[in-house]
């Protein structure tokens, strides 16, 4: 009936109550505490923080609980909260070369200053179900001063074998902020990196993978991946010096890519960059590969693959936008559908009229024909 298709405030309220009930699960079991999520589901918390663009493990854990484990829903919650926060300033850039890594690996050099450090990783674990009780590492890390761990790209940069952080004469322009300024294509690389840092991990993973399978190849080597906590500093104008605000855990990936050279310039490796909150190695690696693929135009490469197409990648990488628009198809569309319904009916009746007006075709009775032959 007519009114049956309309919603109602009671229906919404009841649906929300149902949602809360489902989310509670078995009431004989205790609720999962926010602190437990932050502590035991750290990788998921990192993803929600990265794609939610807000470093706050407790809030991310709360979002995950409220979203009943739906990562995109949790990310949306965090973003909707983040957007209401006033912006009182910008922190100083963090120097990741000074990032004391709890994990640091390079796939391009067997050994390098500072050494390789496996740290916390799923790599080389056997993916077998095991007892969950964890013990600490067998050997405690050696004491003494932390060795210096210069970035691999700086080591190569010293010999000019790799492109520098900034092209000569490019200076160090203020990066844009696409959460504050409108997005206009083509974007600067800094804006693109911001978009990629917020981008859906799965989408970036698929795009990065596509470049490994011939859709815009970039010949990547994992130059360096490091994970660790770093202090964030803020320079308050009234003070005139930087004060620490707190620590954030970061995953950084420096991808070393195919070299470029010409008659005028000697050959040099190119780079792709990835950075994400928390333990987010897959995201940081994918991001660095897509970043490099998107620099195709800069290097005069032919743009033939989706991963090289800035508008395609950036416009579709934000999962808050993507899931919202896909799921909005659940909203009523009966006004538009009615318009289409009317048109299809009209087209069909016009088609029928044309058929009816056509002269009768001369039909040949095939049985007669067969008999005549016989």
């Amino acid at each position: 009936m007519y009114v049956a298709v309309k919603g109602g405030e009671r229906a919404i309220a009841n649906a929300h109550a149902l949602l809360a009930k489902r989310g509670r699960g078995d009431t004989r079991l205790p609720r999962i505490e926010q602190a437990a999520v932050a502590g035991q589901l750290g990788v998921l918390v990192a993803r929600v923080m990265s794609e939610g663009s807000l470093y706050d493990p407790e809030l991310a854990a709360r979002a995950i609980l409220q979203a009943q484990g739906d990562a995109l829903e949790a990310i949306t919650l965090v973003r909707s909260y983040r957007t209401t926060l006033p912006r009182f300033g910008y922190t100083l850039p963090v120097n990741t070369a000074g990032l004391p890594p709890q994990r640091r690996i390079s796939a391009t050099f067997k050994d390098l200053p500072g050494g390789q450090q496996l740290g916390v990783t799923f790599d080389y674990t056997h993916r077998l179900f095991t007892d969950r009780d964890a013990e600490g590492p067998q050997t405690a890390p050696g004491g003494g001063a932390e060795p210096a761990m210069p970035r691999v790209t700086d080591l190569l940069g010293a010999g000019a074998l790799i492109e520098p952080d900034h092209a000569a004469g490019a200076g160090d322009p203020e990066p844009g902020d696409l959460t504050r300024e409108p997005t206009i294509f083509p974007m600067s690389r800094a804006e693109r990196l911001q978009a990629l840092a917020r981008a859906d991990e799965g989408f970036l993973l698929g795009l990065a993978y596509s470049t490994q399978r011939g859709y815009g190849g970039t010949h990547p080597f994992a130059g360096e991946i490091r994970v660790g906590e770093i202090e964030v500093e803020f320079e308050a104008p009234e003070l005139g010096f930087a004060v620490p605000l707190g620590r954030v855990e970061l995953t950084e990936c420096q991808m070393i890519n195919q070299f470029k050279g010409s008659a005028d310039t000697p050959a040099q490796f190119t780079r792709g960059y990835g950075l994400a909150f928390g333990r987010s190695e897959r995201k940081a690696m994918s991001m660095s590969m897509v970043d490099r693929a998107l620099r195709a135009e800069e290097f005069g490469e032919r743009i033939v693959a989706p991963a090289q197409d800035e508008e395609f990648v950036i416009s579709h990488s934000d999962n808050v936008q993507a899931t919202g628009f896909v799921e909005h198809l659940k909203l009523p569309h009966y006004v538009d559908f009615q318009a289409e319904l009317g048109l299809v009916r009209r087209l069909r009746s016009e088609f029928q009229l044309r058929i009816d007006e056509m002269p009768e075709p001369v039909l040949t009775d095939l049985t007669d024909l067969a008999e005549a032959r016989a």
């Binding site: 309309k6 006033p86 409108p182």
Partner: protein, 301 residues
């Protein structure tokens, strides 16, 4: 009135954001039909569910305003209810379902049947602000086409419709030319509603949150639906009146009444339908009420 939602600014958005959006709105009003990029914020609804309209409304609404929210013409569709209750919570302003009482009307997919008047503002929720998007997917390219007022693509598309079907086969989101300069998407309203935009005394604002664009049609601006001399624009019309209130010349929803092809046509604009009077008998009205009760129980079951 004070905001009912603790910890949030009145109207949800912070004042800096409101100022940014108001600047975009001013520019949009100054260049009718031009899509102004703006730094769209996340709001507590998903993208594609009216986030652009919500940001525009949040930026213009004041304590004296009376807000009406419709979706598919109706005040009681779930998304309209949800957005209306959101603004009631974050602004504390009065809400209404009556078109003539509202100072701001946020809408998805319809323009009310009751003619809008001077002083009213209608805020459209826009999914795809770029009328050329499905003809040219690239933003850099469509921007250039707008700059050059090069709308040949759209005319070719309409011509191809005529060649294939005998007439233009676009029934909603029917492209319009604003003030003779910019091609504009009217949002997915049925083309039935397009003529209401032409020289409307109300201010028409359009917000596309996911696509980060705002545009506007100031009062009394020409809004011309595209057409050809021999194939002029032709809005939809309905043969039967509304089965509930008997109105003619209004947009109707088809409601399936049984599983053997039975259906009836009723007003899409619920406010109009209520006020146009119901010729239903008491028994029938009672039947409809029962049906409503059933539908709610089904949702909660």
């Amino acid at each position: 009135m004070s905001t009912a939602l603790h910890g949030y600014n009145i109207g949800y958005l912070d004042e800096q954001t409101k100022r940014m959006i108001r600047r975009a709105l001013l520019k949009a009003v100054a260049i009718p039909g031009f899509q102004v990029p703006f730094a769209s914020r996340e709001v507590p609804m998903p993208r594609g569910w009216g986030t652009g309209g919500v940001q525009v409304t949040a930026s213009i609404i004041g304590p004296e305003d009376v807000l009406k929210v419709i979706d598919q013409g109706a005040d009681d569709t779930t998304n309209a209810v949800s957005i209306r209750s959101f603004f009631a919570a974050v602004t504390g302003v009065a809400t209404t379902t009556r078109t003539d009482e509202a100072s701001i009307i946020q809408t998805r997919h319809r323009i009310p049947e009751t003619p809008l008047v001077e002083g009213q503002t209608i805020v459209y929720q826009v999914p795809s602000p770029e009328p050329l998007r499905f003809l040219e997917p690239r933003e850099t390219e469509t921007r250039r086409l707008h700059a050059l007022a090069d709308y040949g693509l759209m005319y070719v598309k309409l011509y191809e419709d005529i060649a294939r079907y005998g007439h233009i086969a676009t029934t909603y989101d029917y492209p319009v030319m604003v003030a003779g300069r910019y091609l504009m998407s009217p949002s997915p309203i049925p083309s039935f509603d397009n003529p209401k935009m032409h020289r409307s005394p109300a201010l028409q604002l359009f917000g596309a949150g996911r696509e980060k664009r705002i545009y506007a049609v100031p009062p009394y601006t020409d809004v011309e639906s595209l057409g050809f001399e021999d194939h002029p624009f032709e809005p939809q019309h309905f043969d039967a009146p509304c089965a509930i209130c008997g109105s003619t010349g209004v947009y109707l929803d088809e409601v399936i009444t049984d599983d053997s092809g039975g259906s009836m046509f009723v007003c899409s604009d619920t406010d109009h339908c209520e006020r146009a009077g119901s010729p239903l008998t008491d028994a029938e009205s009672a039947g409809l009420k029962d049906a409503e009760a059933v539908s709610i129980e089904e949702v909660t079951a």
